[in-house]
Amino acid sequence: MEINYTALLPEIILSLMGILIMLLTPFIPRAHQNRLGYLAQVGMVLAFLCVVMEWGQNGLALFEMIFQDSFGQLCKMFFLFVSSTILFISINYLEQEKLFHGEFFALLLFATVGMFLMATSADLVMTFLGLELLSISTYVLTGFKVRERKSSEAAWKYFLLGAFSTAFLLYGIAFVYGATGSTKYLQVAEVIQASSEYPLILLLGLGLIVVGFGFKVALAPFHVWTPDVYEGAPIPITAHLAVGAKAAAFLALVRILYQVLPDLSQHWQAVLWVSAVLTMAIGNIAALTQPNLKRMLAYSSIAHAGYLLVGLTAHSPQGTQGILFYLMAYALMTLGAFTVVQIVGRQKEQNLSIEDYSGMGYRNPFLGITFSVFLISLAGIPVTAGFMGKLFLLAAAVESQMYWLVVIALLASAVGIYYYLRVIVYMYMGKLKKEEIPITIPTPMRVLIAILVLGTLFLGVFPGAFLSLAREAVSF
């Protein structure tokens, strides 16, 4: 029983940096507060270095509340990559919107710490704490454009439903504690393994936990809040919701199901099978008719959570590797897509409709080509990370002999191709509007997009490097 500070160093750095930014904010003139974003970026880099140094060490920390293992370390690196990208987009976004608040960056750092805790937690209570830290920061960030109705509405919706789902989760945790007498992952797992019969209360607990996470990950039928919230939130925060927050909840669920409740797999597999089918179908079909790009990407993110569920349902090391790979691929292409949407959106996010993309391929070839790559990858067409990721997830499901699930996933993604292509149709086959002012892309954004495109293509052609990293990380 000890604290093991070295294992917690990344969390400590991020938290201290967040507090520092909060303290500095009042002393810095409004117009310069954006510079605090770079301070946050420094914090992220330091934390990343700590995680890299820690790589390979195993153990428990913080009174056996936190796991120190390569799965958690890989997740942390992933979250840092995602948050740091979002930080980049945010700095540009806030500049453009003339919204200067240092707190924005502090909240993003706290949210990242929340994600860390969720992915590494070794205790249901810690999972809950991580989730709350992430959620509360994100509620505020969602409503950050205080003067806009949509943003406040989104924050309220997210807050109410989020609070509701947290109650489910907490109730589930209480039931599991009631059935097993512990909240520690390892002890709960031991108790369940030793018993031959599972009490109803345990199954109820499992169900409630799945529902609680289902809300956060936006799995059907708990996805209804997603489109409104994603549409109303500031674009970088939409990206954070769609990638970071979603991945954190998903990875926490992976750990709980695989590490704590593997013996109940036949129960949760059946539930997740149904949810996967619903999620893929609803996400893809609802996205078909969305004229607003932010909404379309919201539904598309639901569909992608469905593909991830296919890997989760497979319940095999292959599946977990597939999930990690797919999350990486998904992060690259979704962050890329949101960056483009942000740049095209301009001030006040006025150009979000698909018609605003008409002739984009000729108006700004750089954005045209890169956005096409992101969309093609999201559609899961070869030579992109999206295809490889889908291939790994489906391979895992085939190996677990879930043929129908694979067939449904493939048909659903065939439907999905339509709406991704529709944007490309507008960009390259639509009429060019003559009166449009040319789009200017700040150099940092240009570099960021280029990096994300190269990453998407690299993982599509040489997936081996990251996949072997993921393989090492799947220790349970």
């Binding site: 292509l421 086959m429 996949l467």
Partner: protein, 512 residues
Amino acid sequence: MPGTESLLTTLLLIAGSGALVLLFVPIRKILLLRSITLFFTSITFLCSLLLVTHFDSGSDTMQFVQSAPWFDVGVLHFQYHVGIDGISLFLVLLTTFLMPLAILASWSIEEKVKSYMCFMLLLEVGMIGVFVSLDLILFYVFWEVMLIPMYFLIGVWGGQRRIYAAVKFFIYTMAGSSLMLAAILALYFFNGAQNFDLVEITQKLSLGEIVLSPVAELLLFLAFFLAFAIKVPLFPFHTWLPDAHVEAPTAVSVILAGVLLKMGTYGLLRFCLPLFPQASLTLAPLISLLAIIGILYGALVAMVQPDVKKLIAYSSVSHLGFVVLGIFAFNLQSIEGATYQMLNHGLSTGALFLLVGMLYDRRHTHLIQDFGGLAHVMPRCAAFFMVMTLSSIGLPGLNGFVGEFLILQGTFLENAGRAAFAASGLVLSAVYMLWMYQRVFMGPLESDSNRALADLNVRETVILVPIVILALWMGSYSSTFLGRMETSVQKVVDRIEQVRAPQTFRVEYRGD
């Protein structure tokens, strides 16, 4: 043969590097862009000729094989594995042969030349890749990747309803092939998660090292079959074809008809038959029925088309029906005939699309009623059109005859009834093609705008001459081609015979 094993990779690299070079050419230098593309496609063609000269027609294994691990992680083993046999050899050549001609035919493209040429070269990479891949995943990757350039080529440079046509084309093909991916993954795990190697899996299946239950075999067969049937296209999956053909620019129609449709029939021959012989036998009557319906239906619909391009598109449905019929008659003649017919169709339909495109460039219409009496003002065009029409309807002495004759002969040995129905398709094809020819080129010159038409220029003649020469060659000296195919086709036939019930008496005829 030392030094030639990397030939296939070289072909892919040449075409790919062409696209790369184009990226560095300024967008306004249109002539330079065209010339560079022509240069790269021509070099690819010349290199592919080495394949013919170095091909060993006596060997029944894959040749020019090259393989390397792509990546190995956990239970997933991916590899790069290419090679060709007598069946794919000529399809690769057909691709490389048609590409320079298609580029020459694209001289009339004035808008966004750079991206057009880039997509053409990428398309070539994809097409060659499909024909040479011996690894299931690699095959799937090329199969899908090729859709993207095709989608843009139809959607950006096409006619009035190009967007509808492009999206329909994409969705149809993609929906068809998504189940194929599931089947590929299933085969991988039936293979003990060893690899996706087509040659190895086929061999293990034939030696009984992998045993598929009849139901599993049937389902896997259907998953592959659907992808290929849509691509062929076999009736009733053909509805994307007329749209895509009519809207696509000339050169793209040529490639679409000449090469893309062959991927479907090639897939049947390379995957469906050798991997799932039992299922192929079981479903052969049904598939043959669909093929015959396609032959007759395609011909009848072609007959009433007011639009020349659509007429030729529907004639493709009919011709490809012959190919499928031949493949599912499972004997040496019929499959050789089918493979031959794939090449024939590529040549004659490709040439017809080129000719129609040349008429369109002058007159900006595809409607038969707008033409009439063109032979008076365009004698050269009329002559070329006549030769290709006759080749398409299978006149002896030209290429079409050899393929159709072999298919009918082989089908007759398998089932006389099917051959009889299919043969009536030949009569119909003569009707619609000659009737169309008569209405376009014969009779008096009535309209003034037709009177002013210029005959084919040098560039257009240069495009057509090689095709006519090849058509004559293939019609009169078919052993150049059949001789190289025979061993590989025999291997497919043997595979089917292996599972066919031995007590059934069959007429066995081996041509010598």
